[in-house]
């Protein structure tokens, strides 16, 4: 039963809508458990309708809630007064969904997902591929290397996500019934701090690596003033992004501004070509 719920958890967000969010996916995920708990079709119908109401959480962490709710449904079915046993369910479900959404968003969307891009770039850099930085250079690169970068991030990320998807179901089902069930299954605060530090270290390493690569590519082919100008252009991009973030603008603002300035200088005013990498 838990394994079938685990497989169905991959479709939690299918049917995502603005009225009830992940309700369809959650009911679909719970269906194997409910079918086992309620052999009677009327009771199964009532249970499915209960879980077709509003539900929203972080998709990887939904397993904690689903395991918990499956256990609560099983306990209610076995109870002499099912209505009383089910009374606390909406509150527990909502409390868990909110808590795990907050944890999951910080871990997966806020930290691990950007780290997959960092892993991709580091894998490429370690294998000697610098085409991601030098946009005008077309040295042939084996296809396996181009795929190895993104796959490194995907494998690490998905392994972690799969672990918590399964573990969440197990933990939720074992301690089901309380609004704090599973919240102490890991030191989330510490994990978030460690991921932030690791992400920052990787980002800093990538920035320094890219800067070094740019200087190394230019230092033997252009003079000192030109080298300084190129380093200045790069620093100007960083400052522009920092300022646009400070004013709450998205990266599109900075990208659009850079495009507009470049088009004005090199396409409209037709200044001589200027390449960052020679």
């Amino acid at each position: 039963m838990l394994f079938r719920m685990f497989l169905r958890s991959f479709f939690l967000q299918a049917g995502w809508n603005y009225e009830r969010f992940q309700n369809l996916g959650f009911a679909f995920m719970l269906q194997p458990a409910l079918e086992r708990i309620y052999p009677d079709r009327e009771k199964l119908k009532a249970a499915l309708l209960r879980h077709l109401q509003l539900f929203n959480t972080q998709p990887y962490m939904a397993s904690f809630v689903a395991g918990n709710i499956a256990r609560m449904e099983a306990a209610a079915a076995a109870s002499p007064d099912p209505a009383a046993a089910l009374r606390s369910m909406p509150g527990v479900k909502q409390a868990l969904a909110t808590s795990f959404a907050s944890i999951g968003d910080r871990i997966f969307w806020g930290r691990l997902k950007p780290m997959t891009a960092e892993l991709c770039l580091l894998t490429w850099a370690a294998c000697g591929f610098s085409g991601w930085l030098f946009t005008g250079i077309d040295t042939p690169v084996p296809f396996w290397l181009l795929l190895a970068g993104p796959l490194a991030g995907i494998v690490c990320y998905s392994a972690f996500a799969l672990y918590w998807r399964w573990k969440g179901l197990e933990i939720g089902y074992s301690c089901g019934g309380t609004a704090a069930c599973g919240l102490d299954s890991a030191d989330w605060r510490r994990l978030i701090r460690v991921l932030s530090a690791a992400g920052f270290a990787l980002a800093l390493a990538l920035m320094l690596l890219a800067f070094g690569m740019m200087l190394a590519a230019n230092c033997f082919v252009c003079g000192y003033p030109e080298l300084l100008l190129k380093a200045g252009v790069v620093l100007a991009v960083l400052v522009l992004h920092r300022i646009s973030r400070a004013f709450g603008r998205s990266v599109f603002f900075a990208a659009g501004l850079l495009l507009a300035v470049s088009l004005t200088l090199f396409s409209v005013l037709r200044l001589g070509p200027f390449n960052l990498y020679l």
Partner: protein, 204 residues
């Protein structure tokens, strides 16, 4: 394989992998960094596909899909960028910016699809009430509509790119777009740096 068959397969693949964004899995197979080289390989330009993909990824990583937010779609962006280059014959630099715009423009379509599914709630409840518990069918229908929308969008993007490539004097834009494109890795890297720096200062 003819050009248009390749485009059709690419669009279908983008539609299939696009499901991974929200509808099914979330294994990050729909991320531009992965889709870019795959579509590039399919269309005979794996290196440029990888480059377009990772640059879209670096810029789109700035958007987090929390709550009901519909961020710009990286799958659409990478697919349209790669096809604009490979089938439209547009320079990679301009293809990249076309892709960025295409990804952002997909958000309203995604919003409409999600809004349209709001009406399903009552219909599903009525079906369950009548004793039919075929939730699987609704899940499949949601995925099929998303898949069809993404495939059609990427095909339309590729078609528009072919038309755009025929605009006279387009090449005059290339010196400007080339320079802006060469700055995009830095913009993406700085995005990663500032994101994690802000997290460190917020202390988790």
């Amino acid at each position: 394989m003819t050009e248009w068959l390749r485009v059709l397969i690419s669009a279908a693949l983008a539609g299939l992998l696009g499901l991974d964004t929200v509808q099914a899995g979330q294994f990050l197979l729909s991320r531009p960094a992965f889709l870019g080289p795959v579509l590039g390989w399919l269309n005979g330009c794996p290196l440029e596909g990888a480059r377009l993909g990772i640059l879209v990824e670096l810029l789109y990583i700035d958007f987090i899909p929390v709550g009901g937010v519909v961020p710009p779609n990286g799958t659409a962006a990478a697919a349209v960028a790669v096809l604009a280059y490979s089938c439209g014959g547009i320079a990679p630099s301009l293809s990249f910016f076309i892709g960025l715009a295409a990804g952002a423009a997909f958000s309203p379509a995604e919003y409409r699809l999600r809004s349209a599914r709001s009406a399903w709630g009552g219909r599903i409840e009525a079906e369950v009430n009548s004793g039919v518990f075929a939730l699987r069918r609704w899940v499949a229908m949601a995925m099929l509509t998303e898949n069809a929308a993404m495939t059609a969008y990427v095909l339309a993007g590729a078609g528009l790119s072919v038309l755009l490539a025929r605009v006279p004097g387009l090449a005059r834009l290339y010196p400007g777009t080339d320079f802006a494109y060469s700055l995009m890795p830095w913009l993406g890297l700085s995005g990663l740096y500032f994101r994690f720096r802000a997290q460190i200062y917020k202390k988790g």
